[in-house]
């Protein structure tokens, strides 16, 4: 500034003076700004302090979070008495029990939120439900149900014979899930407010049992709600919130009509924990009180003084199905060889030694069960001989593909591959997503070997349907099963079922690798958790926790 002023104003005479002044001024200002910079940035200490302060703040935040969290924990355990938390492995994808498949949805909702005409106990036997009693006509085609009085749904609507008849007729008309189980059922009608008559086209000794499941559930015919996200039932609990990714909260239904099944605990929280290790950690840290199921191997690490651990028979059958419609497997010798060639003991031992050997299509909790494990004992020599007769040898092995869902883990496939290699079968494993399995194997029947856990009880009928993906077609079995259904007497019915199951097992359309036995673990303070069949029947009303 001064320099230019000097240049404009005066000519040569003052040049030296002004330039001196200018230069000295300029030098001063440059120095000043440099000095300023140097001063501000020459202090690295604040920077260091900044870092230290930031670190302290970060640590304080973390410690604070932990403290709050721990405090919260303590608080929680203090008011936990009215809440029991149960850890399950599988979550229902939605609440729509009429359309959505899967056993998880039945396990959680039936008997707790929705109720059926009849119910099922933990011994798989039929018990009264909404109906307190029933009469069956001598020809077995007419069932008359006598309902309890003064029943209501959770929304306050009355539940009477009209709702029952409507629900069952809707099932048939709309072909809701498992409608095919009660094919013989032709119609339901309300005789009066408390009596319902069901008419069958042909007798069906399984009908009552099937009515304990989805086909017998009663819905409110006057209510409109989004069945996928809400549930209006008549059970002791209502669904307070549900997210299939994390949990379901059940709350005692204040309008519950029954006196026998009054909930012992106000809230039941069901946490869905897919990871086995995570589940056991949750039990150990007290986040859940019950685990059903728990991994059998991991359960061994639980302290026996604190936790009750037990395993029980269930209806889960791990079925290695042989596609009978496939050319290679149409040869019965090959199918038999595979059954002889599988070392079930080894497979069960590698899974924790809890599961039960299963020799046929009927599990021990179902009618018609008998021990068929003696039919095809582990016998490699015999298996090899059968394979030789069928024209295969180690140098010319039979190539087969096993298709199964990745939910079951790779170990099973690897074990089968190595066991069957010994009897000259070259097993190729096709490890797929469950939905792919459903499409390729179940819907299209396009497979050679398939492995899946058929969890349902009373599902022998699948062996009588040639169109089912087993493609097993045996007229004798179909006739025996028809006789079992028509039989009036339970013993007689069981006898026919046994014969049918034995015939199926002898024909070797599948190998039953094992019956999955569910291991359950819970804190000893928990009372009323069913030890048996908790994968299919989980009555929550009697669960409580001592504090």
């Amino acid at each position: 500034m001064t320099a230019s002023h000097g240049a404009y104003g005066n000519a040569d005479a003052t040049t030296t003076a002004t330039s001196n002044a200018a230069s000295s001024n300029g030098a001063a200002s440059t120095d000043e700004s440099l000095n300023a910079r140097v001063r501000t940035s020459k202090s690295p200490r604040p920077n260091k302090w900044g870092i230290i302060i930031a670190a302290v703040v970060a640590i304080a935040i973390i410690v604070g979070a932990v403290a709050i969290f721990n405090g919260r924990n303590a608080q929680q355990s203090a008011n936990k008495a009215d809440t029991v938390t149960i850890g399950l492995k599988l979550a229902p994808p939605s609440l729509d029990i009429r359309r959505q498949s899967g056993s998880a949805i039945e396990q959680v909702l039936i008997g707790n939120v929705y109720e059926g005409l009849v119910s099922r106990d933990s011994d798989n036997a039929v018990q009264p439900g909404l109906a307190k009693s029933w009469d069956i006509s001598t020809d077995g085609t007419t069932y008359t149900f006598h309902l309890n009085r003064n029943m209501t749904f959770s929304n306050g609507d009355a539940l009477d014979a009209d709702d029952v008849a409507w629900s069952i007729n809707q099932l048939k008309e709309k072909q809701y899930y498992n409608a095919n189980q009660v094919e013989s059922l032709s119609k339901a009608e309300a005789l009066d407010a408390n009596t319902v008559r069901i008419t069958l086209s042909s007798p069906d000794s399984n009908l009552l049992w099937y009515l304990t499941g989805r086909p017998g559930l009663v819905f409110d015919k006057d209510a409109t709600y989004n069945a996928k996200t809400q549930a209006v039932g008549s059970g002791p609990y209502t669904v307070e919130s549900f997210d299939s990714a994390s949990k379901m909260v059940l709350k005692a239904n204040p309008k519950y009509w029954g006196t026998a099944h009054k909930p012992a605990t106000q809230h039941v929280v069901i946490d869905f924990i897919t990871d086995d290790n995570a589940a056991v950690n949750a039990l150990k840290s007290g986040d859940v009180d019950v685990l059903s199921p728990v991994n059998a191997t991991l359960a061994k690490s639980l302290d026996a003084n604190t936790y009750h651990v037990s395993a029980s028979d269930g209806s889960d059958k791990f079925v290695l199905a042989f596609n009978c419609a496939n050319k290679k497997l149409a040869d019965k010798r090959v199918r038999q060889a595979i059954r002889y060639g599988i070392n079930h003991k080894e497979i069960i031992a590698s899974r924790g030694g809890v599961d039960a050997a299963l020799g046929g299509p009927i599990p021990s909790v179902d009618p018609g069960y008998e021990d068929l494990t003696g039919l095809y004992p582990y016998d490699v020599a015999k298996a090899k001989q059968l394979m030789r007769e069928a024209g295969y040898s180690i140098s010319k092995p039979l190539k087969l593909t096993l298709t199964y869902a990745n939910t079951y883990g790779t170990e099973l496939g690897d074990q089968l591959k190595s066991q069957l290699a010994a009897i000259s079968i070259d097993l190729n494993i096709n490890y797929v997503e469950f939905s792919t399995w459903l499409q390729d194997v179940h819907a299209n029947g396009d497979y050679e070997l398939s492995l899946v856990d058929h969890a349902e009880s009373h599902d022998f009928y699948k062996w009588t349907m040639p169109e089912y993906y087993y493609h097993y077609d045996n007229k004798d079995v179909q006739a025996l099963y028809a006789k079992a259904l028509a039989a009036n007497d339970e013993k007689e019915s069981d006898e026919y079922l046994k014969q049918a199951a034995k015939t199926v097992s002898e024909d070797a359309p599948a190998d039953w690798l094992f019956g999955y036995r569910v291991t359950v673990a819970y804190n000893k303070g928990v009372k009323g958790f069913p030890d048996k069949l908790s994968q299919t029947v989980l009555p929550l009303w009697q669960i409580s926790k001592a504090e």
Partner: protein, 325 residues
């Protein structure tokens, strides 16, 4: 202004292309939601009836136009399985995933920036070597492994020091902030360490380049020490590069945290996608993927603009920049 308009047009074109790609790619998957819903007891007739009910038997172009029409109205559709709107589903999961990403990124920056700067500033060879090793080792640790290690060390119940919960998210979500934060600490550390090593490498490279530049020499010539010149001038010069890297890291984390979510059983976007693909709930999956991809693109757009704002040299017409700013 022209730059912004061009970028926006590109953004929209990319979205449309994306919607087609996502739609078609999912149709290649075997199996469908009707079969999954019908389960292992279903008859063929039952599956066919469900397909008709859900409109799965309509020709693909019709289904696509239907979906796109919904998108234009801001309607992302309803999950065929859970019956919830996709928006609410994504929202609920993003409430876990996004805080996790932000926390991971904060940890990554807290690790990466100071260490990266220190690696350039120090003249000590041993220190340099140490930083080098740190960057390589940190980057080589997969989140899955460090996650397991963190669980072994710090998890509630089974860890050596029971400091943090290692599984799941509190059932009541963010109502209890402390508890929710605590459940995100270990997963955020697991991803943050790896990402932090990445940021450290980038910082070191960018600042290293800047250290050679004339701007830093000039600053030193004006009297700054080397450290001052690097931190005040060099760091500012390398800012545009670092912002790009941070943007990319953020985008990578959206997919990166999915593994960690699985390990720590967090109900985030990753587990949602896995379940929905497993159920073949294609309407939900395509909308979810579309949202995620749109977010990726948006992030790219934001980074581009930030880039331009931070580095005026990139613009020929500087007036535009003023307007962007």
């Amino acid at each position: 202004m022209r730059f912004v308009a061009k970028r926006l047009l590109l953004f929209i074109a990319a979205l449309v292309g994306l919607s087609i790609l996502v739609f078609l790619a999912l149709r290649v998957l075997p199996g469908d939601v009707a079969a999954v819903m019908a389960g292992t007891n279903a008859t063929a007739a039952r599956i066919a009836a469900l397909r008709t009910q859900m409109g799965l038997d309509r020709p693909l172009p019709v289904q696509y136009v239907d979906w796109l029409g919904g998108l234009l109205h801001g309607d992302l559709g309803i999950s065929a399985i859970s019956g919830r709107s996709v928006v609410s589903q994504v929202g609920a999961r993003a409430a876990v995933t996004f805080p996790l990403i932000v926390l991971s990124l904060a940890i990554a920056l807290l690790i990466g920036l100071p260490l990266g700067c220190a690696a350039v500033i120090t003249r000590n060879r041993r220190w340099r070597g140490l930083f080098h090793v740190l960057a390589i080792v940190g980057g080589a640790i997969t989140a899955l492994w460090s996650g397991l290690l963190l669980i072994l060390l710090f998890s509630h119940g089974s860890g050596l020091l029971g400091l943090f919960p290692s599984q799941g998210f509190p059932n009541d979500g963010w109502k209890d902030c402390g508890r929710a934060m605590a459940s995100l600490v270990l997963p955020a550390l697991a991803t943050g360490i790896t990402a932090g090593a990445g940021i450290m490498r980038y910082t070191r490279a960018a600042l290293g380049d800047a250290a050679q530049s004339q701007a830093v020499s000039m600053a030193m010539a004006c009297g700054m020490t080397r450290r001052q010149a690097l931190l005040r001038v060099g760091l500012r010069l390398s800012m545009p590069q670092l912002v790009s890297v941070i943007g990319l890291t953020f985008a990578q984390m959206i997919t990166g945290v999915m593994v960690v979510e699985n390990l720590f059983a967090l109900p985030g976007l990753g587990s949602m996608l896995i379940t929905d693909v497993g159920n073949r709930d294609l309407i939900a999956v395509q909308s979810e993927l579309f949202l995620l991809a749109a977010f990726f693109l948006l992030l790219g757009l934001a980074v581009d603009m930030a880039h331009h704002a931070l580095d005026p040299r990139l613009n020929t017409a500087s007036d535009d920049v003023q307007e962007v700013l």
